[in-house]
Symmetry: C2
Subunit: 408 residues, 2 copies
């Protein structure tokens, strides 16, 4: 393995240059999937890859594959992938860093004329964010066989425009059959979207997997009554029950090393001087291990029963088991980080990523870099030039390390 | 004092007959202040009083006074008063019982030809509910000098119609100057709107006063963050703080014998997988004694400071001191209840009533009867025929008892 280095300045300038596609006045980016801004970004991306001698193919849901040939044309390519779309009030790094760091890897290899044994492929997955067309991670999900193409085409945005119409409008319905582009492995670099690496002063997160997550809606029925004339011990206050339950879920998550969040709470017919009679809350429970998430759910369910009996109704609306990334990919990232001399820790992703679906069909792993205050999906989302450069260097090292192992 | 009795059947039939004015299909009444339904009810009320030989005058905010002459034309009249308007989804008893029981007292006196020493006056206060024109208790408030007439006229409903326009439209702007109708005392019969009498099996509540109440809005600022990637110990979850505070307020109210209610809660930009960054809750604190309410507020404020420091902002939006009803009026009610042989307990009203404002200018007290499940402001609001009859009988007894004391 040669001691190849990426160009941190060039990567940073590329991030800032392409931030113009969908730039918002507050320093963020609004580049919704299959919008005109997304088309601008895709056209630019294709042109840059072609300038490096890559062949760019597009599948029928718009996933873009830039192939850099290797010495062995018969070997499966090693992939680098992430996404170029953003949230409506997105930032400059979420997803984008992973693709542009891959481009920087290709540029660095190109500049030195370095030829890998296996081909490399750089992927832009369509509609990772899911904010224009739900669900999220749609392009990688179709690629991995989680969703079919008709399902993707039928998704509509808030104005009633379908995914199928939108992709045809911007001319990014390609000819490459779904799933026909196979990889030996995929690596994804991403900002952490959480505060752990920054708080601990760690350069690189070696992402060993993605947490198990379950989403619930909980409705509690009490009895509406007058706030002034109902004694405290004669009340059935649904909001009080909801408050106790959401705090108990937090407590159970702390004890079991998981996460519990209530992000939504609605009182039916709220009035300042009426004791709430019906309250609905969301509950988001996560844990690194499926069996621990099961325990966490069990503790929450038992508290709800004890608190409300049959006055509570808990509905599970989403259930996503834990994902473990590929050991040999993780070894390649460890080796790549060691070679760079950066500090590392293992970390489990709390958010979903294209890698979750890709890992179903391909050995996959991820690399995290810190981001300021753990913020993402926000114009203030931020990472430093040196953090981005370190991530890109580890990404390149990992690819080359993985390649060298493969050909041994 | 003669042993006069009201006619419980006639009272019940009158309640059911007038429930037609604004009747809703679910058995409730929608009779908004100064609406056509309110005009129908007012016309009916005026005709019934005039049929008993009363003179009905109307002041410039629509308060109606039906005067039944006494032997001594120079004595101030003893008043019975409540209201005939309802909530948008109101029931058959709230306010209505107090006016129609007064009418039944007049009918019973009329039937036996009984002449009191002092005149009696039966009052229908305009806009007690405050649901078409805020604030509540507007007519009695103008009468007592709490609000002025221009303020009342300028109130607008949700369609932009002013109180002044509405009163002119239904022809209930009278000539009697505000406050010129003075009373020796006023008695108001009302349903409890709470569960205490029913649960304890008590017939009559002797209402010694109205609780002190304060309304607040509390805004808590935390930090929005990703529900999946922010560890529990790195969160600033504004909803968790709000839940702790509302439970602490409940706990403090229990300890101090007061009431605490949160009826409204709003998360800024709620999302299922985002830790809430800003939450606003309402807080309604009540206590029988002003100084204990002060202590309750102190405990809540100190908990908020301890929990949130300067991330919380508490604004007081309404402050109503405790009201103590007149001892001689209360004695008259006690005597009247004793004469009827009903069971009684002293009770403090948790809700506001016309009597709160009238008590500022006239000796005043109230009588409560139980209502089913403590429900009010609801089509299911209910009291039995015998409960209504007992209340009306105690009301008559109290008037006559008060009159006999006065002339001694």
């Amino acid at each position: 393995m040669q001691n190849l280095t990426i160009d941190g300045d060039r990567l940073w300038q590329t991030i800032m240059e392409t931030a113009a596609f969908g730039a918002t006045s507050d320093g963020g980016i609004r580049r919704l999937t299959l919008s005109q801004e997304d088309k601008q970004m895709r056209d630019w991306f294709r042109a840059q890859c072609e300038a490096l001698g890559c062949t760019v193919t597009v599948d029928t849901v718009g996933n873009m594959f830039a192939l850099r040939p290797g010495r062995n044309a018969d070997a499966l390519p090693i992939a680098i992938g992430s996404h170029l779309d953003t949230q409506p009030t997105g930032g400059k790094f979420d997803g984008i860093l992973g693709v542009l760091a891959g481009l920087e890897v290709f540029r660095a290899l190109h500049a030195t004329g370095y030829e890998t044994e296996q081909p490399l492929v750089l992927v832009n997955w369509t509609n990772e964010e899911g904010s224009r067309f739900a669900p999220a991670m749609l392009g990688s999900g179709v690629h991995a066989g989680v969703f079919d193409r008709d399902f993707a085409d039928s998704r509509t945005d808030i104005d009633g425009v379908s995914f199928g119409q939108a992709i045809d409008e911007i001319g990014y319905r390609g000819q490459t059959p779904i799933g026909s582009t196979r990889f030996a492995a995929m690596f994804e670099l991403h900002i952490e979207q959480g505060p752990i690496l920054e708080r601990e002063g760690i350069d690189i997160g070696i992402v060993t997997g993605v947490q198990a997550m379950r989403w619930y809606d909980l409705t509690i029925t009490g009895q509406e009554a007058h706030a002034g004339s109902t004694p405290m011990d004669m009340r059935h206050d649904a909001l009080v029950d909801a408050a106790k339950i959401l705090l108990a879920a937090q407590e159970a998550a702390r004890e079991l090393g998981g996460l519990a969040t209530t992000g939504q709470l609605a009182i039916a017919s709220p009035s300042r001087n009426v004791i709430p009679g019906r309250v609905t809350i969301s509950l988001d429970l996560r844990h690194e291990h499926d069996e621990e998430l099961e325990r966490l759910e069990g503790e929450v369910v038992s508290f709800i029963e004890q608190c409300c009996g049959d006055r509570a109704e808990l509905r599970t609306i989403w259930n996503s088991p834990a994902v473990r990334f590929d050991p040999s990919c993780l070894d390649a990232i460890r080796a790549g980080a060691h070679q760079s001399g950066v500090s590392t820790r293992e970390i489990v992703s709390g958010a979903g990523h294209d890698s979750v679906y890709v890992s179903k069909v391909t050995p996959t792993a991820m690399i995290f870099v810190p981001c300021k205050d753990g913020l993402s999906h926000n114009p203030a989302e931020s990472a430093t030039q040196s953090q981005c450069a370190q991530g890109a260097q580890v990404l390149m090292n990992a690819i080359l390390s993985y390649a060298s192992v493969e050909i041994r």
